[in-house]
Symmetry: C2
């Protein structure tokens, strides 16, 4: 099979390996259904820092170091970082990773960023541009609410379609070999806009993009949903999931058997009062590191499609009455 596949996909000929994954989360995530699986739970929402943004930076730094530590000494020399976050001008990333003194490719794909980071990281490793690279993202409930909605002190009411931004950072060391999981393919996504304007219903904003990328992926590779143990979106939540399944059905694909959503896995929506589920750059990253990757490494799942989803809004675009377009990047991860 060729490297260039179909309309917009990539097949890796020498699949780069995910050597390690690390997850650091906040207290609420630690209390959720995946709580026991995370590497570290930070009880202090400020992570010992002075601001929400510095707290998020601290999470990134911890996750980066832990991923490198878990990879072991043979992978210690990480050459490039592929990283991003949700904050304007990526300040959680630039301040968080500065001390590592490793060249940085700053990325922004909203909550889809870990997908973008993993595929660019894999392209870099297979391309022979680097031995080891680190892909990571973060989000923080406090910094995200301040950035996108209201300061926490306002105590704003949240509609039921709203999601809860995950406090956490997930990091992954990619290398030409090692570990028990490999990235065998990727489908970078297009910006898709269905004209939805409700920033408190991001699942509805992102579902069309998720559908577009997943269906295009299946067409490009000539596969069906059954070729995957699971197709796992980032943070559509329960509202977005319904829309995705409906839209995919209209394009001839029944995803209901395979579909999972990190945003729905990470919290107990009822007990934790998180409404439609979790969201944020950290949501899919920590779920991949703590829950999905181990399933693949232990061969419980042979092949999955990991599809982080992003809502491309800012307070400026929202206040100017623009819609909230979505983007989704798909990465094929297989046991090896």
């Amino acid at each position: 099979m060729e490297t260039i596949v179909g309309k917009q996909s990539i097949q890796f000929q020498q699949s780069p390996h995910i050597v390690s994954g690390a997850s650091i989360v906040g207290k609420k995530e630690g209390e959720g259904p995946l709580g026991k699986l995370f590497d570290q739970i930070e009880e202090d929402p400020m992570v010992g820092q002075n601001t929400w943004e510095e707290a998020e930076s601290a999470l990134q730094k911890k996750a980066a170091k832990l991923a490198m530590e878990k990879a072991g000494p043979s992978y210690s020399s990480v050459r490039y970082l592929f990283a991003g976050d949700l904050l304007g001008q990526l300040i959680a990333t630039s301040f968080g990773l500065m001390d590592l003194q490793i060249p940085l490719f700053g990325l922004y794909g909203a909550c889809s960023t870990i997908g973008e980071a993993l595929m660019l990281g894999a392209m870099t490793v297979q391309g022979g541009y680097s031995e080891n690279v680190l892909a990571l993202t973060s989000s923080h409930f406090g910094s995200a609410e301040k950035q996108f909605r209201f300061p926490l002190e306002y105590g704003g009411q949240r509609p039921l379609a709203a999601t809860w931004t995950v406090t956490g950072s997930g990091a992954f060391v990619l290398a030409p070999s090692g570990g028990k999981a490999r990235i065998s393919g990727a489908t970078p996504g297009k910006v898709v806009d269905y004209g939805v304007k409700d920033s408190l219903n991001m699942g509805a904003c992102m579902a069309p993009a998720a559908c577009d990328t997943i269906c295009q992926h299946l067409e490009d590779f000539g596969r069906t949903p059954a070729d995957y143990d699971h197709i796992i979106t980032g943070d559509l939540g329960s509202v977005g999931q319904t829309i995705l399944l409906d839209l995919a059905r209209k394009r001839g694909y029944d995803l209901s058997e395979q579909h999972l959503d990190c945003g729905m896995l990470i919290y107990d929506a009822e007990a934790q009062d998180t409404h439609a589920g979790g969201s944020g750059c950290g949501c899919s990253a920590v779920t991949l590191a703590a829950y999905i990757l181990p399933k693949i490494e232990t061969n419980q799942w042979k092949r999955i499609l990991f599809v982080p989803t992003g809502a491309l809004l800012s307070t400026v675009s929202f206040n100017e009455g623009q819609s909230v377009p979505g983007i989704a990047h798909a990465v094929v991860i297989e046991h090896c």
Copy 2:
């Protein structure tokens, strides 16, 4: 020579070519020293739109289409976009490029973004992941002032060390062959922080990063400044230039013969009252497209080092008293 060079550089074995470059700028840039070289000058600062942000999106869209048009029909199928801008959550990019319906890798490296886009684009082309890709960035004086400083209506005073954000977008089609310029190497940059906190003196914030990347590049490749016709930074301006030359001298490199700065080339600082020079994601991109690339294509310059520079601040990090770290990505462009 190997693909992996020295501590942080890449040598392209089959140098991807820059098939075309397009530049669209605003009225002020059109009145500057490079005025006659730009492809299009937009007299209307709103580019027929309702907001500064939409105006910037319109510039990106025009530049993207023009670059593809200039590349010609054999390069019409662009597979991936590598793009970014200065605005929070990259709204100029996501809204500007949506209609192209091409998968998007959203990038953020502040004003260094066109360097990041060119190197990732080149890595993608040489890696065989795509035939043609498009690398582009934009900035807009109105949207940037609103994002980072004060709304224009305030009529704020600007200190002499301040730069003027370029209104413009530069776009480039990269492909395995074609055209008269090729990307032969790259040095992705690290985040460098000297603790400067003055967001109205971004040259001082970025100069240490420019120095770090340029010196590391020369060491990685075992070259001297004289191996380049010019070493061209993005938007240090006159204040940043002085600092760069001083810092580089301390590391044993005299850049004074070769150094140029896009921010100093694009405006007549005295006549146009732009103080230290131009800046913004668009500054180095349009200067590359309109001024630098033609010099290389016509073999007036055989080899240059293009080093866009970024100041990694946001209003949040600034207001929280953080410093303004810098980043610089270096790309080697040669005649072919």
